[in-house]
């Protein structure tokens, strides 16, 4: 057991835990933030996506030790921001949400993508989401949601 301290959604948290625990489990089980989902447990599906120091990461592959003294943002942290709302509205308007299990992870990937490319090309969008599997939507409506969020959020990203 070690004390692991990190910034979570702009608040300092300290957890006494096995440092090898998956960040995903700590978020869901210990901190009751269930927005990140487990779809595969091996970093392929992206349903567990979070940001670590503003960079997209699969929280099912991150040992808790690796976020010690780092900054973690989850979908719950994005939800209250202007960018998060912009994205959510764009997802709604474009019909980009079906069963929704991939959506929080997809939102995180979209957020990271737009922060890096405020005016993304279709190809950049496709690559930006390539680690987030969706079995319902066929992705096209998600692409359009991101394009909409880029346009309607001009200057925000």
């Amino acid at each position: 057991m070690n004390d692991i301290t990190f910034e979570l959604n702009h608040e300092q948290v300290t957890i006494t835990a096995d440092p090898s625990l998956r960040l995903l489990d700590v978020l869901r089980d210990r901190l009751h933030l269930t927005g990140a989902k487990e779809g595969c447990g091996e970093g392929e599906c992206g349903a567990c996506s979070v940001l670590i120091n503003d960079q997209l990461a699969n929280s099912c592959l991150v040992p808790l030790a690796n976020v010690h003294k780092q900054r973690v943002t989850t979908i719950e942290g994005i939800a209250t921001t202007k960018e998060g709302k912009l994205l959510q509205q764009a997802y709604s308007k474009e019909g980009a949400v079906q069963c929704g299990i991939c959506t929080p992870g997809m939102m995180m990937a979209s957020y990271a993508l737009l922060k890096k490319h405020p005016h993304p090309t279709r190809e950049q969008i496709q690559i930006g989401l390539s680690g987030n599997l969706c079995r319902c939507t066929g992705y096209n409506m998600i692409f359009r949601a991101i394009e909409r969020a880029a346009k309607e959020g001009e200057g925000t990203w």
């Binding site: 089980d29 990461a57 390539s130 680690g131």
Partner: protein, 282 residues
């Protein structure tokens, strides 16, 4: 019970590793899958995990006239965006997994895991990359091919850590990397091809070819390369069949859940041919 070590410096890590059984945890992208447990339980470690991903002294890309120096825990995404990263390595990284994973994965991790399908490895072989291995008392620089001994097997001793990858800046005229996976992103290689040449006038003066995922380790055969170096581009292109035959004895693919032998062999040969036929005289 294992002890978890979160060192404050490289020195602290090496000091602890000296005299303890340890497992190095970098980005975790491979290890956390291998050691995965039932959800909510910690992964299974039988020796003390030493976490090194946060060590900033191992996170850098530097260059001088001769070499590019890559710190062991530099994430692949940083390499992808860095101007000093060799283009061939960028080409490979660009289709390793997906952005989230590339933010955590490291090429030192690829080396440490020595997976036959590790996509950065053929590039490192082709570019004659050197691997710096440190322990509390030693510091050595070894060619990549010596470091990797077999699938999931390296030369590293328990007290040793990969700290840096050194890539010589050799002048190349034309390079090609091609990965064939089950889909266009987020896939594990069925086969990969790396080719790199220097052409001076009509002559091929430096020829490097590496195949990934078609044998227990990366296939790069210096003897074959030397046999064809010094030939003209035209000669090389005329002799492509014999070049293919030469490699065919080294390519020993397997049948598995992702593909089969025949396909891997066929595609490896096709890509070799494509590479050779696309060469042009200077």
């Amino acid at each position: 019970m294992v002890k978890h070590i979160i060192p404050n410096s490289l020195k602290e890590a090496l000091d602890y590793m000296d005299g303890h059984y340890t497992t190095i945890v970098a980005g975790g992208t491979d290890l956390m899958v291998q050691r995965r447990n039932w959800a909510e339980l910690p992964p299974t470690f039988t020796s003390d995990p030493v976490y090194v991903f946060h060590l900033s002294e191992l996170n850098y890309v530097n260059e001088d006239d001769k070499n590019v120096y890559i710190g062991a825990v530099t994430p692949m995404s940083v390499l992808l965006d860095h101007p000093a990263t060799p283009q061939l390595l960028k080409d490979a990284i660009a289709i390793i997994a997906a952005p989230g994973l590339r933010n955590m994965a490291t090429i030192a991790g690829n080396i440490g895991n020595a997976s036959p399908a590790g996509d950065s490895l053929p590039i490192l072989y082709a570019l004659d990359a050197l691997v710096r291995i440190q322990s509390k008392s030693q510091n050595s620089l070894l060619p990549i091919a010596q470091v990797i001994q077999g699938p999931r097997k390296t030369i590293l001793d328990n007290n040793e850590l990969i700290t840096e990858i050194v890539i010589p800046k050799d002048p190349f005229t034309f390079q090609m990397f091609r990965k064939v996976g089950g889909r266009k992103a987020d896939a594990i290689s069925k086969v990969s091809f790396t080719g790199s040449v220097r052409i001076e006038g009509k002559h091929v003066t430096d020829l490097r070819i590496a195949f990934g995922a078609v044998a227990p380790t990366v296939v790069r055969v210096r003897d074959i390369e030397m046999e064809y170096e010094g030939k003209t581009v035209k000669q090389l292109q005329q002799q492509v069949k014999s070049l293919q035959e030469a490699y065919a004895t080294y390519i020993r693919p397997i049948d598995d859940q992702r593909s089969n032998k025949e396909y891997r062999m066929n595609v490896a040969m096709n890509l070799l041919e494509q590479f050779i036929s696309s060469l042009k005289e200077e």
